[in-house]
Amino acid sequence: MFKRLKILITILIIQLMVVSSSIAEEKEVKDCFEKINRATFAFNMALDKVLFRPVATGYRKLPSPIRYGTSNALNNLSNLVTIPNNILQGDFRAAGINSARFIINTTVGIVGIFDPAQSLGLDKLEKEDFGQTFGTMGVGEGCYLVLPVLGPSTVRDAVGSLISMSGGDAWYNVTVKNDTQYLKESDYYYSKLGQGVDFRAKNLEAFDSLEKNSVDFYATVRSLYLQDRDRKIKNQNIKTDTLDDSDWDSLEN
């Protein structure tokens, strides 16, 4: 399994290098596998209709303390990927804050259900992952990808996810890779499913409205995903490239 992952990562990195050098010349979206992506997107949408949307609707009916607690616990787990990436990006201050938040919330906050760290002045920071770390190192996003079930990604972000599953994510390591007395493989998959449902539940109306008002929903989701990743890589909470006036200046000509 590990050997296969290594081969896959190598292939993807080679492709990433090739595409990232060409992307520098043109700012257009690189959707090299658009036909396959659109088919996968249609499959994901069907899956959403029969599975994720109904589950997310049901989840939304739970009392809000339960939803908040679940969301907090899942966010707490994501620190295990964020902290090493803070370090790789040279952001040691954020690594320190996230480590302190993780320790306090896992213990005092009962596996992260509560967020006592916030009351101690340790505010929640943006999540980081290996795809973002590659981005901060100047690696281009590569081709846009739509992964079955998981949804939008890019070659760079897919490589990042594979690194998470090859030792970069401590939560994956203690659940799937290593048999421990207290944690099972299924815990990892339940947590990922939980993250998906939590995200979907928070965006039920926004997603429906977007779908209803789009003339090409696939292109809309692609644009939003790529903009969001770009914003996260640049760690811009508010400003984006779209605030660059040059984008609009051509209208004046």
């Binding site: 109306e205 003339v215 292109a219 644009s223 909470n237 605030l243 006036d245 984008d247």
Partner: protein
């Protein structure tokens, strides 16, 4: 001589400051006004149809629909002749108002608070605001790109929701339709007309 020069420069400086200040104030008040009008409409007990009609009126008065329309065409704009441009503006106007009101009407409780603004230059001011959280949705940051070329008649050119630009998303969506139809911009016209008829 030196004193008179200094006086002239300082007068110019203060004039510049007060000009920027007035633009910023106008933009903030403008957004505050729109947000409060929209909030009143959305929280009213009126029918959805009536709400949408009122929202469309707000859109017509406060958004630079033609400007956004041309922006969303991107590089394909240059290939259009004047008749095609006029046809596109008409189709886009209908599309925009329909999708704008339909998107907004979903928000039953919409309280927007203006936080600050940033005058980028004499043409643009970014007004920063937030949509207050409810029990079913978290707080959302919304930045408004206000076109202030005519400071007395500011117009909205883009909404940046949680860092994601609606105008840019629209441009990429339209570009995708055109490219998937061998660069034929009329395919976009057809898609928009189809949407408008729904």
């Amino acid at each position: 001589m030196k004193i008179s020069k200094l006086l002239a420069y300082s007068t110019l400086f203060f004039l510049f400051l007060s000009y920027n200040y007035s633009i910023a104030n106008i933009s903030s008040e403008f957004i505050n006004n729109i947000a409060s009008k929209a909030s009143n409409i959305l929280s009213s007990q009126e029918s959805e149809k009536l709400k949408m009609e009122k929202l469309i009126k707000i859109g017509q008065q406060s958004v630079d629909i033609d400007g956004i329309g041309l922006y969303t065409l991107g590089k394909h704009r240059k290939g259009l002749n004047e008749d095609e441009k006029e046809e596109y503006k008409k189709i886009f106007r209908e599309y925009f108002l329909k999708s704008f009101s339909s998107r907004l009407v979903e928000y039953k409780e919409a309280k927007i608070v203006v936080i600050s603004e940033e005058v980028k230059n004499e043409k643009y001011t970014i007004v920063k605001s937030k949509l207050i959280a409810t029990s079913s949705r978290p707080e959302i940051t919304i930045d408004w790109r206000v076109y202030t070329k005519d400071p007395l008649k500011p117009l909205i050119r883009d909404l940046i929701i949680e860092g994601l630009s609606l105008a840019r998303t629209q441009r990429e969506e339209f570009n995708s339709i055109i490219l998937n139809n061998n660069g034929d911009v009329h395919a976009l016209f057809s898609s928009l007309k189809k949407f408008n008829k729904q």
